[in-house]
Amino acid sequence: MAEAAAGRGRRAGARLREGAPLLPFFAYLVIFLVIPTVAVLVGSVYLDGSFSFGRIHELFSSTALAALWKSVLLSASTAVVGAVLGAVLAWLVASSPPTSVLRRMMLSLCSVLAQFGGVALAFAFVATVGSTGVLTLWVAHLGVDLAGSGWLYTLTGLVLVYTYFQIPLMVIVFLPALEGLKAQWREAAVSLGATGWQYWRQVAVPLLTPAFLGSMLLLFANAFAAYATAAALVSIGSPIVPLLIRQALTSEVVLGQSGFAYALALEMIVVVAVVMVAYTLLVRRTSRWLR
């Protein structure tokens, strides 16, 4: 008994020593992830000395639900479109020779564009296809109204603008999976009698699916949490969740609105957590055959 306890103690000690180099990382996690999450959690049910589920309840108001629905729709549609187009682009990159100039250019471009969000991107679109954008004015001569009824400033516009950084992000996160396809798998399949299509259908697609879905979830989370691009583009009207948080934070009209911001933040954390759980399940399903 005592020996077992001592053994446990030694093991715990060893584990502590192994974990020591990770301490700064854990500290970082606590300061920038755990504390804010707890603060959000507490803030959404407990504010100014009173405890209530009122703010949580408010999440189910029509404004909040509409914002959530828009956020999910925006994130999901740009994740799907970005994932599909990005995967095709990644495949083109992967099948070009590693030394080709085009490939290197594409990769650098993607690295830049994947980070090219926020005000700059929004401005770029406004300046091009906004109501007084260069392209809009230019094609106006031809009798085409590019800016339409201000679509750029609605959900449709957000989908287009978000897709602009989702596609390059997909290229970057999906390319390693494509490059992980071994040449021998194709050659083995072919020598066993597979056509090109059969190889894709029975080998490549099943092998790439987990990475594809995983990347898509990442894209979803990326779009769901994006704020600046939408903030710069959509000034007022029916907002997505991050914009609703801003609205709640700055609003002084309704009493207790800052507590509502906490509740909305909690909602976002929950959605992202659900996405991460889905991602984990996906990875676990395939860990048997992917080391």
Binding site: S191, L192, G193, A194, V203, W289, L290
Partner: protein, 363 residues
Amino acid sequence: MSQRPTERTPSDRSRPGVSVELTDLTRTYGQVNALDGLTLRLEPGELVALLGPSGCGKTTALRILAGLDEATSGTVAVDGQDLTSVPANKRDMGMVFQAYSLFPHLTVLDNVAFGLKLRGDDRTNRHLRAAEMLELVGLSEHSEKYASQLSGGQQQRVALARALAIRPRVLLLDEPLSALDAKVRVQLREEIRRVQLEVGTTTLFVTHDQEEALAVADRVGVMSHGRLEQIAAPAELYAHPATPFVAEFVGLNNKVPAVVSAGKAEVLGVQVPTLVGSVEDAGLAMVRPESLSVRADSEGTASITSVAFLGPISRVHCTLADQTPVIAQLTSSQARDLAPGQRVSLEVEPAPVLVVPAATMGA
């Protein structure tokens, strides 16, 4: 009326091996001549090992035969039928690669059944056949595992089962053992040979390991710079190398100064017959370590530099009077009393030797 059981119908896919002919194959990659007029014939049911140093074109030859690469010129025929324009997936060739190539998302059983599924065999039949193949390679109890749960040797055995499951016309093995450690390598090469004899499939086995080639093959083809130098049964190749390259590449060789006259070479004072292709005057005789014997002799002109004990045999490194280094291979009991620094005399057994010009071997 009644068919004799030995007659085989065309639909019988388990027919014994077919012949394979590579004729005058060339393959150039830019400036490199990977194949430079390779001609090679495999008899039905035969296992031919293609042996040669790295970069001599072995893989290229095998890939062209499989249809995975195209020859710049030359033809490939199997069973007398020209395959040059037949795509790889219609050639019916089983392949085992050097790198592990099992499909990681399929179980061992489904890997082996993969080719049968493509051929439209129903589930029951293909699983029966796959199980039969797994039994042949001794992995029945692993059929539900994934490749990542198997050792390297097991993965290559599954790859062999997968290649054989489709009853291929030809089996192609590209250094299937080179990623494995020495002990598994020896076990597995014997297993490959056993399985090959059992199924009777004509097989091309590419390797750069001469011991491996000599151990498994009916005939060994030695390649150099995209050409075939010699093809012969292992013992024949060993005893009668046709070119200096073959003599040097197959087996450890000593180059001992020799004088040739009237078809006999004088090597270390002994008259030895010469092989076809030998020079007619002075040159270097290619003498195998096991053809040399070493005797302690205080009057001897050679001396021992070191003795390497290798279990049942020992290698005795000596220097001749003219400083030529030679290696003699003795049984360890013969070598027991020999020690470095000792003066000895060397003797050559009168087996035929190849005598090459001193210049080509760079002495």
